[in-house]
């Protein structure tokens, strides 16, 4: 870039020197021996290097600010004009002195002017190129390259000589270039991207540039008054072509910008809408909250439809009370109430079908008032997760202030805002759910720890337990305790209901068992005390069923009481048959007073080798298959009779296997627990 600048400056100096020398030579009749082609070539190369310089310079400064480009051209033009004017003044001021008609001086001055004008022309040309090629197509680029090539070639046309007035080839080429310039001048896409203010600036700058062009043209080719020629012969195809092209494009631009002025506000509006739309859709990522989205919605909607005022009514369910939140703009609370009153009595209501929704309450309403500050009201429902989450009211002082276009835009805004808020809420819910899941997992672990891993027993019997809950936590409970060397307490229980509340009651039961069992109570006593303890802390509709066993391996006896729990299944090896132990009882927490003791009883029996006791919860006996049939007592009896010869673990495994077979693909929806005791 610098090299081309230096070379062009050097060439210009040589050119000036040569001119002066030539004048000198003519004066003194001395043949310099320089071919006439040489100065012409120097001029041509000067042009070439100026063009090169500007090409490099403009590509280096990559900017989309058109005003900036125009300003640069204007500045160069200004300098050129000022210098040119100053030279003119200088010429006038010395008009009377000896220097007045000094050909050397004239030559130098002309040369300076010529150089400056060339620089201005070339710089304008480069900028115009930039403008024309804004948002270029492939075809346009080809056109331009051809044009630029022809223009550059025309630099060397002066080697051939001839001028516009006399040479036909000159005329033809000039005509061709003019035609191409005309066609290219139609590319004015950049104008559309100027805003209103920029358009005015551009008009001013281009107008000044056009004036410069006119001035320079006259200063080169229209001679002063004192010369007799009407026009100095136009001898440089390059310069004149440039002039024509630059002038064309300037005038075209001026006219187009001028005619674009009235519509530029529409274009700006559309751009603003697009930006607002983007803001609405992006707002979530920026971590904004719902209110900010609502504010953006209201502001952008109002500006999109030129609304004078408006408000958002957002329904929020805060602890059951349905109170709507109001976000107003350009409107006082009393004015809002007035408008609402008017909406109620207005007869001019138009329902505008929302093409995206089916329900009628999701349609927009347009209301016109006759006498009011506001003549038209547009009510837009905001639909979030298929429910009406609020309404947007837009007010306009003009009657019929909302046209179809505006309503469409509002539709898009409203739905985009709804989507943003919906996403925002869904994200929140997802996070919340994730948290609950974690909490439940912790609860599951804690509850697992409440059930014993090792069950107390001695060599006289095997004991094995199994439990499963469909939810993370359940209400089934079993436990054991070694009362003495030969005495063991075994308990199984089921809390009414399922899930978390059942799990809490189950943990209470564990606490009660662990404290009462140490008192070594008779089974009925244990139940009475447990009932009393639970009475104070169970929910009103909750109860716990329990079976309590005391196994004495020394006397080979079992004492048991039942508090509303499923009847225990007992296999007698002597009879080779299984039976349910029938006895009366009442669930814990059903009677929360002293009369409870009238409903619990102690039963006693003895056991022999290979007898089996199966304790279970109703999740097993009441499990049903797809046809609604219950697993039932008869099946359980049969399974135990058939499998009593196996050990406790196998018995339990067979039971659960048969249970799953029975239920097939139907999921068990209750907690189910089984404790198998086999005597040895």
């Amino acid at each position: 870039m610098r090299i081309s600048l230096a070379i062009s400056t050097l060439l210009w100096l040589i050119m000036t020197l040569l001119d002066v020398l030539q004048v000198l030579a003519v004066r003194s009749d001395v043949d310099l021996g320089i071919s006439p082609i040489v100065p012409v070539l120097i001029i041509d190369f000067f042009f070439v290097f100026v063009v090169l310089f500007y090409r490099l310079r403009i590509t280096k400064v990559e900017s989309t600010d058109f005003i900036d480009y125009l300003w640069r051209v204007f500045a160069i033009g200004l300098i050129a004009t000022l210098v040119s004017l100053a030279l003119g003044l200088f010429n006038n001021s010395i008009a009377d002195s000896a220097l007045a008609n000094n050909p050397f001086l004239e030559e130098v001055l002309y040369s300076i002017r010529f150089g400056l004008i060339s620089v201005f022309l070339v710089s304008t040309f480069t900028v115009w190129k930039k403008l024309i090629l804004y948002q270029k197509s492939k075809r346009l680029v080809i056109w331009w390259n051809v044009f630029e090539g022809v223009i550059l070639l025309s630099i060397f046309f002066n080697l051939i000589g001839g001028d516009l007035q006399t040479n036909d080839l000159f005329k033809i080429l000039f005509g061709v270039i003019t035609l191409m310039a005309l066609i290219l001048s139609a590319n004015l896409k950049w104008v559309a991207f100027l805003n209103f203010k920029q358009k005015w600036k551009s008009i001013l700058l281009i107008l000044l540039i056009t004036i410069y062009l006119g001035y320079f043209f006259t200063s080169i080719y229209v001679p002063g008054e004192e010369t007799m020629d009407i026009l100095k012969s136009i001898d440089n195809l390059f310069i004149v072509s440039l002039f024509v092209f630059l002038l064309f494009y300037s005038i075209f631009s001026l006219l187009v910008i001028l005619f674009n002025l009235p519509t530029s506000s529409v274009f700006e509006k559309k751009m603003e809408e697009a930006i607002n739309f983007q803001r609405l859709s992006q707002s979530i990522q920026q971590g904004e909250n719902e209110n900010q989205i609502f504010d953006i919605l209201l502001t952008s909607s109002m500006s999109a439809v030129y609304a004078d005022a408006g408000w958002l009514e957002i329904e929020r369910n805060k602890q059951g009370t349905e109170e709507s939140e109001i976000r107003r703009k350009n409107l006082s609370p009393t004015n809002r109430l007035e408008v609402i009153e008017q909406i109620k009595v207005s007869k001019q209501k138009y329902v505008l079908k929302n093409p995206l929704s089916k329900a009628s309450e999701q349609d927009q309403t347009l209301i016109l008032f006759k006498k009011s500050n506001f003549r038209s009201v547009l009510i837009v429902p905001l639909i979030i997760q298929e429910k009406i989450a609020g309404h947007m009211y837009l007010l306009n002082e003009l009657s019929d202030g909302f046209n179809k276009e505006m309503i469409n835009i509002i539709n898009t805004f409203a739905s985009q805002a709804s989507i943003s808020i919906e996403n925002f809420r869904l994200l929140g819910e997802a996070l919340e759910n994730e948290r609950y899941k974690k909490e439940l997992n912790i609860a599951k672990k804690v509850q697992r720890a409440l059930l014993p891993v090792n069950l107390d027993h001695n060599d006289s019997f095997q004991i094995h337990a199994f439990t499963q809950a469909p939810d993370e936590v359940g209400g089934d409970y079993y436990d054991t305790f070694r009362l003495s060397e030969h005495k063991f307490a075994v308990v199984i229980g089921d809390v009414s209901g399922k899930g978390t509340s059942a799990a809490f009651h189950m943990s209470q039961m564990k606490g009660i068992f662990q404290s009462l069992v140490q008192l070594d109570l008779a089974p009925d006593e244990f139940l009475v005390k447990a009932n009393k303890a639970l009475s104070g802390c169970l929910e009103k509709t909750s109860f716990i069923t329990l079976s309590y066993f005391v196994i004495d391996t020394e006397h080979k006896s079992v004492e048991y009481s039942r508090a509303g729990h499923c009847p225990t299944l007992f296999y007698s090896s002597q009879n080779s048959s299984a039976e349910f132990l029938e006895n009366k009882g009442l669930g814990l927490g059903i009677l929360r007073n002293d009369s409870f003791k009238n409903y619990v009883f102690v039963n006693k029996m003895t056991f022999q080798k290979d007898d089996v006791i199966v304790l279970y919860t109703d999740g097993i006996s009441e499990a049903s298959n797809n046809s609604g049939e219950e697993f039932g007592y008869d099946r359980m009896k049969k399974i135990l009779t058939d499998n009593a010869k196996f050990d406790a673990v196998s018995i339990q495994k067979t039971f659960i296997k048969k249970l799953f077979e029975f239920c097939e693909d139907k999921n068990l929806n209750d907690d189910y627990t089984m404790v198998v005791i086999k005597f040895k």
Binding site: F543, L586, G587, I590, L591, D618
Partner: protein, 114 residues
Amino acid sequence: MLEIVQTNENNYISIAVTGDADASSSIKLDKGLRSAFDESHSNIIIDCTNLNYISSAGLGVFMSYIEEINQTNTTFVIYGLSEKVLKVFGILGLDQLLILKNTKEEALVELNGL
């Protein structure tokens, strides 16, 4: 699914319970019973002829009214329990605390007998 239909007769309130009384629908059952008890009528009969299933939560609802029945001297009779449902009531011991009858006639006899 559970449906509760209340009809007020001359000297008693009748509540027909239809469907399954499980954990979720037991709230509905409680509401139905609550509104009947709030009328402070001394005779309430529950028609469970079409009650297919009752879970522990459903039993809990009936259980929670036992105290109120005793305190207010309400005659509270449940009738028409299917064999399956009756068995559930029996295991828990509720048959000892609530009056369970097979038919409406028996239930009405119970009311008038007092």
